[in-house]
Structures are given as structure tokens and as C-alpha cells.
Symmetry: C2
Subunit: 112 residues, 2 copies
């Protein structure tokens, strides 16, 4: 099985065939991280409810938390108005960031 | 004046010289939209506190709300761990989406 053609038709992929995916913590609204998905990653995310991305550097699928245990259980998936960005509302287990921070935006404040 | 070299050195731009920028409503945590910035757009955003993006389709700077009045006053700017995504915490005036929706993620729910 692959991604629902009705959804696939609404995606506006970049030159690498990817759309951006933003993960947000359910309830608190924290923006946790941004990563990338192709059609298959989105399909896997929608059907398994485990956030699955496509790694541009490694050119492979990546189930968030598969090695770290820091999984994302997916409650909601939304596509934006121009079809190039996805919002995932998730329950993040532990740290979302590979540095150990709760979110990937915790460490570097440019303006406050 | 241009972007602080210490910040510029931390940016990991894509092939078009851009980083992704996520706008989030202060307080509610709503994810409003995703757009793109180059160094100059980020510099203008940091110095004016008015969210300023770079339009890929029009190849020009774009002060959010300049024509619609739906401005974004910027309270906080954060850079993510790998330097390719910026998070803006803003006060959104009116609708963030050009369709009139509050956010660009309101209309198309793929999973709930």
C-alpha cells in the first residue's frame, strides 16, 4: 500500500521530493523539531501513528525514537494551505532533540 | 548593516541560501505558518521585530501583513540545533493565512 492518491495530489514537494514536517507537543503546544517527509514517510506516519521522517543526509527512513526511545506518538496530522508543510501533533517521549534538550529550539536564542 | 556574523556563521542554508522559519503565536502556542528567510530577512526581522520573509516565488522580501494588515510582532527568535530552522514567537494580528484562516494548518486535516 502507498499514500492515499487524494492526499498525494495535494502535496507540493521540493526538488528532492520532500515536504517539511513540524512536530508539536500536544497540550503544551511546544514546537519540538522540524524534519522532512516524502510520500512514503507520510504514509507510514499516517498508518502507524509513529512519526517517520526521511533523512536527507542518510537518504533513508527514520522512525523517530527507534534507537533513542524518544518516540513521537501522532495524534493529528495537518497539511498547510500550499501543500508543502505538514504539522504533526504528537506526544513526545523524553527529549525531541538529539542533544538531549526537550526541543531543538531550546539552546540558541537569537532574540528575546 | 547586515546580519551579525556570529549568527550568520551558525546558519545552515539550503541550496537557495534559505532557512525555514516557523511562526508560532505567543501564549496559545498555535503554529501559524511556515515560510523562508535569507540572511537579510532574518536581519530585518531581528532589528525591526516585524516578521520579514523571503518569497521564493516572487524572489523578494515580504513583510508579513504589509498589504493585508495581518502583521506579526516578533517577541522571540530561536535557531534550531542544526541551524536550518528558525522559530519565531509572534503576536499575530488577525489571520495568518492568506485564505483568511487563523493558521495555514486549519483547513486540511489528514489524520485526527
Amino acid at each position: 500500500m502507498s499514500l492515499d492518491p487524494a492526499i498525494s495530489a495535494r502535496l507540493k514537494r521540493n526538488a528532492d521530493g520532500l515536504v517539511a514536517a513540524i512536530a508539536q507537543q500536544r497540550g503544551t503546544g511546544e514546537v519540538l523539531m522540524m524534519a522532512w517527509m516524502d510520500d512514503e514517510a507520510l504514509h507510514r506516519t499516517l498508518t502507524t501513528r509513529r512519526a517517520t521522517y526521511f533523512s536527507r543526509s542518510r537518504q533513508q527512513y527514520w522512525v523517530k525514537g527507534e534507537t533513542s526511545g524518544h518516540t513521537q506518538h501522532v495524534h493529528e496530522v495537518r497539511l498547510d494551505c500550499d501543500g508543502d508543510t505538514i504539522l504533526l501533533v504528537v506526544d513526545q517521549e523524553g527529549a525531541a532533540c538529539h542533544t538531549g534538550d526537550r526541543t531543538c529550539f531550546d539552546a540558541d536564542v537569537l532574540l528575546s
